[in-house]
Amino acid sequence: MGKDGHSRRDFIQTSVRASLFIAIGGLGALGASRATASHTVWQIDPFKCTQCGRCATECVMAESAVKCIHAYDICGYCDLCGGYLKPDANDRATGGENQLCPTAAISRNFIEEPYFEYVIDEALCIGCAKCVKGCTAFGNGSFHLQIRHDRCLDCNECAIARVCPSEAISRISIKKPYLIKGKFEVIPSVEPPKSSSKK
């Protein structure tokens, strides 16, 4: 091929390059028109969660980023705590055989007659939701699961969200990274309008 061949090839190269440039730029512009500068994080909506237990096992990390937290604000400080004691517990005591939590992560502290405070040791909690189930079924639902952002890797797609049977996990704005139970009338509006649930 002579000089003509070369210049023809150069010409093709340049024009394809220009078209690719426009294509990539167009894709970028289209994306940018829909992009948010504000990042999102993954979070569990405690009102949707049905305590299936997958949070403990489906996180990409061996120790799940999901932990149980206690919304003291709505706790009844019950003596007979549905989240602390097994339904068939022999007695209202702190013996391991009476506790619902498989890792004994919850401690029961006497405050005053007849109230007890329940405190979760996050280091021990595995996010299995057993206590949440008990508390939601028999109590106020003050125990609930949350993705803890000091542990969460903020995966591109949360592995738990994919398998959550209640579609309780979605992207929410980083500005309000927690959906905490508590003041009931406030919480539902915390969800930003543009949050995208996966499905």
Partner: protein
């Protein structure tokens, strides 16, 4: 014991009787404490600051610029090596391999197809910037700025040369992977690139067992088959390959002009060096031309066959989406409703959604899969056709030069060239 049972019973009764509508009321009112007990607040540790994300974009641009400078200007393999160590440590081990440009394909796909999803600007930039660099300078992203590339590149031990037919054959996988990833992301089904990223578990030093096994296996394969993920899996590599072919300032093996000394011939662990080729004799060109025309005619057939296969597999593929899966399960086996161990079914039942709405939702998703699958099939047909077509064109070539599409600009071959500037 009996007392306890009674209390439980009473509570259960209370629970049934009490209105829980809207969950607006606590069953047990918060007590008033006499002892001055103050209730603690639940802690809410902050997520990683957004500013750090933009810092990542800054680091990406910096590393890309340096990699480009080392590959094209300085022609320094050492510089690129240092950069890949840095990338491995920073984007790999420190940032846990997330977000990455490869995974960002899915965010972009989801943005294009789901109007409710808004991509984060950081993910968009991670997707766009390396492509733009590649369009001008070749795949310097692969050389120095990709953590997956870096971990593979640093662990090449005794690369074996892979025969062309096998390379081309396996080279079709990334196209399929890309197509499936886009299909699954666009339908909101799954982010398969992230889920099956073999190295991310190693970056995090924490993953499920199967992923660790996969990661270690890939690293072991990589000792002999250099960069196995990059070459035979990476879906972003498909896009980089296309753009790199038309790059303007791609690195060259020789600093001035090739003297055909053959010293670099086997230097590339990825078989990405084009060796000089004579102009084929007229007879061969004749038969090549015939083949070319035949393949050209075959392409529509391949595309049709692909579309057919894709269409046929859409029912199967759509089952990856949980709604479709659940709807089908409930229709085919209504008895699962009584299976208390089936979490998905139980959650569905307790949510109070009717089967009708679920089936409707599933229908919409399956329709999307129908369209997506035949397009994907036709696309694969086109890819196979074009790669056959490429076998028949032998361009005359006087020099040893990197094959721009497949070269990672790693710089190894440059050190073999005896020619001075």
């Amino acid at each position: 014991m009996k007392i306890l049972m009674k209390i439980v019973l009473v509570i259960c009764l209370m629970w049934i009787v009490m209105p829980v509508s809207g969950q607006s009321q606590a069953r047990f009112p918060k007590p008033e404490f006499d002892t001055g007990y103050v209730q603690p607040d639940p802690s809410t540790p902050e997520p990683r600051a957004l500013a750090m994300d933009y810092f990542d974009v800054f680091v990406l641009i910096l590393v890309l610029s340096l990699a480009t400078y080392f590959a094209i200007r300085r022609r320094s393999r050492g510089g690129i090596l240092l950069l890949s160590v840095f990338t491995l440590i920073y984007f790999g081990f420190f940032r846990n391999g997330c977000i990455c440009s490869i995974g960002a394909i899915q965010n972009v796909a989801l943005t294009l197809f789901d109007p409710n999803y808004s991509i984060s600007l950081v993910a968009l930039l991670f997707f766009i910037i390396p492509l733009l660099f590649t369009l001008f300078f070749g795949r310097t992203f692969c050389a120095g700025a990709c953590p997956l590339g870096a971990i593979q590149d640093l662990l090449i031990f005794k690369p074996i040369s892979i025969p062309v037919w096998l390379r081309k054959g396996l080279g079709l996988i990334p196209f399929l992977y890309l197509g499936l990833a886009v299909l699954f992301a666009a339908t909101g089904t799954d982010f398969i690139i992230c889920r099956w990223d073999p190295y991310v578990g190693i970056f995090r030093m924490d993953a499920r067992f199967i992923m660790i096994v996969l990661g270690v296996a890939m690293l072991l394969i990589g000792l002999f088959v250099a960069r196995p993920y990059c070459r035979f899996l990476c879906p972003y590599g498909v896009l980089l390959n296309w753009t790199s072919r038309f790059s303007k300032y791609h690195m060259a093996i020789t600093p001035s002009s090739c003297i055909n000394c053959k010293l670099c011939e086997t230097s590339c662990p990825f078989d990405a060096i084009d060796i000089p080729q004579e102009q084929a004799p007229a007879s061969a060109r004749q038969s090549d031309l015939k083949k070319f025309l035949v393949y050209l005619l075959i392409i529509p057939l391949l595309m049709g066959a692909g579309a057919f296969i894709g269409y046929k597999s859409h029912v199967f593929l759509s089952k990856a989406h949980s709604d479709v899966y659940l709807a089908e399960l409930l229709i085919k086996h209504p008895e699962v409703k009584n299976d208390i161990d089936n979490l998905d079914v139980q959650a569905f039942l307790s949510a109070g959604e009717t089967l009708d709405t679920l089936v409707k939702k599933a229908g919409v998703i399956r329709a999307k899969f129908k369209t997506g699958s035949w397009i994907l099939g036709a696309f694969m047909g086109l890819v196979i056709g074009v790669s056959l077509l490429a076998q028949t064109t032998h361009r005359k070539n006087d020099d040893y030069r990197p094959d721009k599409g497949n070269c990672y600009s790693c710089g190894r071959c440059m050190d073999y060239c005896p020619v001075e500037k």
